[in-house]
């Protein structure tokens, strides 16, 4: 168990280092910076701005400053947080630096404000995807070959075949302008969550439904399920208590990629529904060339996805006794 965590931690450190380094090099090698579209800047001001963010340093020095809790500046810490109180610590201590565009905010501030919103949206989407996916998948497997099965599979495949912003467009047409049930955009109340959650979760519900169906079909043909039926257990118990545990294994291993997908999918959904989450910040920062912010969000999501994948692997060992932690 300890070996498992140690090994994972080692690979995690390597992954993170690679992501940070590659994106750092890419970010700094690009011509033009976050300030280059403000054409009217006086050269002196631009020099000052560059000095403020240490963009005038050689690349290796900038890199070390970005990574570590070092102070490489002979003239004392110039590279300050938004309010000028804190010297910049570096990625190693969890400080992602100041935002280039939102002058008074650090990347950490922005993430702290927006991440809870994204997490709430993602959780709703995932829960609803699981609920719908498992329900349709199980009933599809139980009524295999019937019209219900065909209809549900068609629904599942369609869900995979449409981009989520198109689903969002249809939802807005139907439930905002057609039947005025929900607000069109924004954030704050529970009703604001329904449509974005649905649109975000729909493709994943579809995929989970397919996975559940095949997983359940495989389990339902096993001998021990027949035994359970033969000893007179009610069908409901056989399905829920005996078959489901084995049948949802593929779904569990899909949860890691699904969560990653929901996080990235929320880029689009947050933009459509004007939700102030991390995803919309990422998109804007990438388009505004706010490199520290977009790097910060990339790093954040790398950490999230890695941690979630590890959790999923652990959960797998609990659900499937044939797999031990050492294999994972």
């Amino acid at each position: 168990m300890i070996a498992f965590f140690l090994r994972r931690a080692l690979w995690f450190a390597l992954t993170l280092w690679a992501v940070v380094t590659v994106s750092f090099v890419l970010m700094r090698s690009v011509r033009g910076g976050p300030f280059s579209n403000e054409r009217t800047l006086h050269p002196a001001i631009e020099r000052n701005l560059q000095a403020r963010y240490h963009l005038d340093w050689p690349l290796w020095k900038q890199y070390l400053q970005y990574i570590g809790p070092l102070n490489l500046d002979e003239a004392g810490p110039r590279f300050l947080d938004g309010d000028g109180s804190d010297p910049f610590g570096g990625v190693l201590v969890g400080d992602l630096g100041p935002s280039f565009k939102y002058r008074d905010f650090t990347v950490n501030d922005i993430i702290a404000q927006s991440l809870p919103i994204s997490v709430a949206l993602g959780t709703i989407a995932l829960l609803w995807a699981l609920l719908l996916g498992l329900a349709t998948g199980i009933s599809s497997a139980l009524w295999r070959g019937t019209r219900t099965d065909v209809a549900m599979r068609l629904f599942a495949t369609t869900g995979i075949a449409l981009p989520n912003f198109v689903i969002a467009g249809f939802l807005i047409l139907l439930f905002v302008f057609g039947l005025p049930l929900f607000p069109v955009a924004g954030w704050g109340t529970l009703r604001h969550l329904v449509l974005p959650g649905f649109a975000l979760g729909a493709p994943f519900a579809a995929y989970i439904s397919r996975l559940t169906r095949t997983g359940m079909l495989e389990v339902l043909s096993q001998d021990w399920i027949r035994t359970a039926h033969a000893k007179g257990l009610p069908a409901r118990l056989v399905v829920l208590r005996h078959a489901l545990k084995g049948g949802i294994l593929p779904v569990v291993s899909y949860l890691g990629p699904a969560t990653a997908g929901i996080l990235t999918g929320s880029l689009v959904i947050e933009k459509i529904f004007a939700i102030p989450g991390t995803g919309s910040h990422f998109v804007n920062s990438a388009l505004n060339r706010d490199y520290t912010l977009s790097m910060g969000v990339t790093i954040l999501y790398t950490v999230l996805v890695y941690a979630l994948n590890m959790l999923v692997d652990l959960a797998y060992t609990f659900l499937d006794p044939r797999i031990s932690v050492e294999d994972a």
Partner: protein, 361 residues
């Protein structure tokens, strides 16, 4: 006497063996696919889409780039219109198109002879800039299919080479290579790619003017980079199970080099599973193209792709007037194609690899 009998017996066996036509894997798979009605219909539908996209200039459609800025989007109308000589100007039609290869030019000529100055009305309506939606969908299919196929081929090349090498060499190298794949799985690639593409945008003109590389071909490679991981894993698994087979041993004894064994002997044998993944990767790439279009990082107008059309439709959603056709038709085009690809992929998987029947991924 006895020797004679044995000889005739042997001849009979030989005749029988000759008479029994061996069924190749491909023939067998084709038969099974044909029996799967949904998959076969999907294949036919996809063939129609591909053909339609190839022959786009032949159809009597309005120009997909013809702007008419006075009007708001017009709802679908059915009739044909004869524009008359003064309105259907072939030179103008040609000028308004962004790219006409020699082949396309010939098709435009053919169109002019076949349909004269007749063209369809706005069968699917027009968009906010007065451009004909049907025409844009037909022309947009070209770029969508191009991106999907090219990016998928990139991922194929990378994934198959990587997976086959790891599986065949084995040992430490295999371990290391697969660990790297594991690590890459947990990198949120979409973020990295968006990051990369925004950076590439900076160099758009430099790339074109100095290196002669179109932005879009870099685009293919970058998208292809995301989708090779699963392919590498699958191919490696297949190669692992094949590499100790007798025909590989025989090749090695005969002195074939490692690259030769890899590409001549091993890769053709993993082709079936690769084709299955191909049909499942293409939809993913098309969706990703749509996603990038949504972020404004996709193809540049006046070029058009299905992703861009879907985005236009979503952006036209507003409370004052419902331009439903702008949302619905691109969604129908894209949705039905991707649906067909998914169904075909499932069907191919069942047909090519009965062991995998009904499994996901």
């Amino acid at each position: 006497m006895r020797a004679d009998l044995e000889k005739t017996e042997a001849e009979r066996l030989l005749r029988e063996a000759r008479a029994a036509r061996g069924e190749s894997l491909w023939f067998d798979a084709w038969r099974r696919l044909r029996n799967n009605r949904a998959a076969f219909l999907s294949l036919a539908f996809l063939a129609v889409v591909a053909l339609g996209s190839l022959l786009a200039p032949l159809f009597p459609l309005p120009s997909p780039a013809h702007l008419d800025l006075q009007d708001e989007p017009k709802p679908p109308v059915l009739p044909w219109t004869n524009l008359g000589d003064h309105d259907w100007d072939e030179a103008l039609y040609r000028r308004e198109h962004w790219e006409l290869s020699f082949f396309d030019s010939a098709l435009v000529d053919l169109r002019a002879t076949l349909f004269g100055t007749w063209q369809t009305g706005a069968w699917l309506g027009t968009d906010s800039k007065g451009r004909d939606l049907l025409s844009r969908i037909v022309w947009g299919s070209r770029i969508s299919i191009q991106v999907a196929v090219a990016a998928t081929l990139c991922s194929l090349l990378l994934g198959v080479t990587y997976g086959a090498l790891a599986g065949y060499v084995g040992g430490r190298l295999d371990n290391l290579m697969m660990r790297i794949v594991d690590v890459l799985y947990s990198v949120p690639f979409i973020f990295v790619v968006i990051f990369l593409i925004t950076l590439l945008n900076e160099y758009r003109t430099t790339l074109r003017d100095e290196y002669g590389i179109e932005y879009i071909s870099v685009f293919y490679v970058v998208i292809g980079m995301i989708y090779w991981l699963t392919m590498a894993r699958v191919v490696r698994g297949q190669v692992l199970s094949l590499k100790n087979a007798e025909f590989i041993e025989a090749a090695r004894v005969l002195g074939a080099s490692t690259p030769r064994i890899l590409f001549v002997h091993l890769v053709p044998n993993v082709l079936s599973i690769v084709i299955v993944y191909l049909t499942l990767t293409i939809p993913a790439v098309m969706l990703f193209e749509a996603f990038l279009s949504f972020l404004g990082l996709g193809v540049e107008p006046p070029k058009v792709s299905w992703g861009l059309l879907a985005v236009d439709g979503t952006e036209a959603v507003n409370p004052v007037r419902t331009f439903w056709w702008l949302v619905a038709w691109p969604a129908v085009a894209m949705g039905s194609t991707l649906l067909a690809l998914n169904i075909l992929g499932d069907g191919l998987r069942d047909a090519l690899d009965p062991k995998l029947r009904g499994q996901e991924r």
